[in-house]
């Protein structure tokens, strides 16, 4: 595999301009929601509301107020597919439509996807959605076509504050660690990296610099994002045990005769040879012949 590439998103310099959303829409020719009719969510400046089949980038606006509302903070974060090192969507995909590219990104091959939605249930970040138009799973492609032509992803190129940075993942991690040190030095002790280490699904190729708990940004804690296959064997072994117990119960039900001998038969049963061929006369003779 060629070098692994990724996104490093420094949320402390995001200004919520949504240039990344626009660039993503434009490059990937994503249609507008509601045929372009503007729909105000009432949730700050966040009218995109969530990642979806036509929104592969989503700038979150998180307004935080103290209880007496004398102090406030505005967090912004450009959310995207995390291109996990151990990607749950890729793991569960039954058709092989989801693959890992030479850039270590996770890519959905549209001609192979049949819209089973197993990847949606597996993604712990709520990234993947089914397209209302194409009826297949959709998410950020990491601008695979641009990468193949030595161009950075459209969102990273459009970001005016370098909140979204693209590059070789190891270099990005070093840069991010320095930035965290710098912020700590400036008194922002709550700055930390989310997904840069291997605690979440072996690491996220799109990792973040955050200044609050993951839940504040709508992200799961590291223990909440799980690899789907972890429960396959424990569940299967329990099911096998249940099968044995079930079979034993049925065996006893069909072999225990003691009580039946004493019970008077209320209905008579015809011999099998009689009622097997009883529907049409003459067939039995033909069989025997």
């Amino acid at each position: 595999m060629a070098q692994a590439y990724g996104f490093y998103t420094d949320t402390t310099v995001c200004i919520g301009c949504k240039a990344c959303e626009v660039a993503c829409h434009q490059w990937n020719a994503l249609p507008a929601r509601n045929d372009g009719l503007v729909e105000l969510s009432g949730n700050s400046y966040d009218n995109t509301q969530a990642l979806s089949d036509v929104d592969w980038r989503h700038v979150k606006f998180i307004e935080q107020f103290s209880e007496d509302r004398t102090s406030a903070r505005w967090l912004m974060m450009s959310d995207v597919c995390k291109h996990c090192v151990n990607a749950p969507c890729l793991e569960v995909c039954p058709t092989g439509a989801i693959v890992r590219t030479e850039f270590d990104s996770v890519y959905i091959q549209e001609p192979a996807c049949n819209g089973c939605r197993d990847c949606i249930s597996a993604c712990p970040f709520g990234v993947i959605h089914v397209s209302a138009e194409k009826h297949i799973a959709q998410k950020c492609t990491f601008c695979y076509d641009r990468l193949q032509n030595n161009l950075p992803p459209a969102c990273a190129q459009a970001c005016p504050t370098a909140s979204i940075q693209f590059g070789p993942i190891e270099i990005l991690k070093q840069r991010a660690a320095l930035r965290v040190e710098q912020l700590h030095g400036q008194g922002s002790a709550d700055a930390y990296l989310y997904g840069a280490d291997d605690k979440i699904l072996g690491g996220l190729n799109a990792f973040y610099l955050l200044v609050d708990k993951p839940a504040a940004y709508g992200l799961p804690e590291s223990v909440e994002a799980k690899l789907p296959s972890r429960l396959v064997w424990p569940s299967s072994i329990r099911a096998m045990g249940t099968s044995v117990v079930m079979a034993l119960g049925m065996f006893l039900a069909f072999t225990r005769r003691k009580s039946e001998v004493k019970t008077k038969e209320l209905r008579t049963i015809k011999p099998r040879s009689e009622w097997r061929y009883s529907r049409r006369s003459g067939r039995k003779r033909r069989l025997e012949g």
Partner: protein, 308 residues
């Protein structure tokens, strides 16, 4: 509990598939057990299962294809669309399940054909080979492997749900066992109903065998349901069962779909009680699947409302 996920919208078709597939698996497993260990009378008594399993699993196939957003690509589940080679990912329950469903369709199809020939619905001299699949060592072997495929079909749906990141599905590894026990109880209830309504030649003692097996399956389901609820932990229990649809499990499924049928079965000599018990078990099985499949969607929706 991770509430930051997207809803896969596995709705009415998937609920129907889990329910009907469970009945088919439970019914076939009963017939296979009767063929393996029962007397001739038992084998005749559960032939309703042979009539039920294959049509139901065919219906399941149709349902699954309809539920796909690109139904014309259903074959991608079994074959790679690029290489046209079989695709099998043992670590993906949906991939394994597609093969398991096909295997079960094969075995239940054999039984269906055999019972059609035996009961003279489609007799042809060239079809007499089908008897070999019912009798002798080959018959036992086919019943044994078919039994395995039935247990697989009854349980893999629970593994499929557990192998996700959806709240309510990933907190415990007991879903597969729960679905298996429920598939057995619903399958046996379906046989009991079919015997009472359509197969009147079946003797009372065979009916009692089926009912005894059903009581066993319902009791096992009740025990596993308790283990499932316990294994969730107190915090998750409070979240999952305090509101609809999770609320249905402790307050509808347990009393109406398990305890009441058990009570009725112990008094089955009263006319019609057996039928009522079987209908309650089937209804309980359907509600159980509806509740479990719908839990993540409702939790995620409630969470998104709170967020906005």
């Amino acid at each position: 509990m991770n509430l930051h996920v997207a809803d896969p919208h596995w709705g009415v078709w998937i609920i129907a598939y889990f329910f009907l597939g469970g009945i088919a698996a439970g019914a076939y497993a009963t017939a296979a057990m009767a063929r393996l260990f029962g007397k001739r009378r038992d084998q005749d008594g559960v032939r309703a299962a042979d009539y039920l399993a294959f049509p139901l699993v065919c219906l399941c196939g149709v349902i699954l294809i309809i539920d796909l957003n690109r139904p014309e690509r259903f074959w991608h589940m079994l074959m790679s669309s690029q290489t046209l080679m079989p695709i099998f990912k043992w670590w993906s329950p949906m991939s394994v399940g597609s093969w398991g469903l096909s295997l079960f369709a094969f075995f239940s199809g054999l039984s269906f054909l055999a019972v059609l020939v035996e009961d003279d619905w489609c007799y042809h001299p060239r079809l007499t080979w089908i008897y070999k699949t019912r009798e002798g060592r080959l018959g036992k072997l086919i019943s044994l492997v078919g039994l395995g495929s039935a247990f697989f079909l009854g349980s893999y749906t629970g593994v499929l749900l557990a192998a996700t990141n959806q709240p309510g599905w990933v907190e415990t590894p007991w879903l597969a066992s729960l679905f298996l026990a429920s598939s057995a109880s619903t399958g046996l209830s379906a046989i009991a109903l079919a015997n009472r309504w359509f197969f009147r030649e079946v003797s009372r003692s065979v009916l009692r065998h089926v009912e005894r097996a059903d009581r066993w399956a319902i009791s096992l389901e009740l025990i596993i349901l308790c283990i499932y609820v316990w294994s969730l932990g107190s915090d998750n229990r409070r979240i999952l069962f305090s509101d609809l649809p999770g609320w249905l499990i402790p307050w509808v499924v347990v009393p109406g779909g398990l305890l009441l049928p058990l009570a009725l079965m112990s008094r089955h000599r009263r006319r019609g009680m057996g039928e009522v018990a079987a209908i309650l078990v089937l209804t309980g099985g359907l509600i159980l699947r509806y509740a479990i499949i719908s839990i993540p969607g409702s939790l995620v929706y409630a969470h998104s409302l709170r967020d906005s």
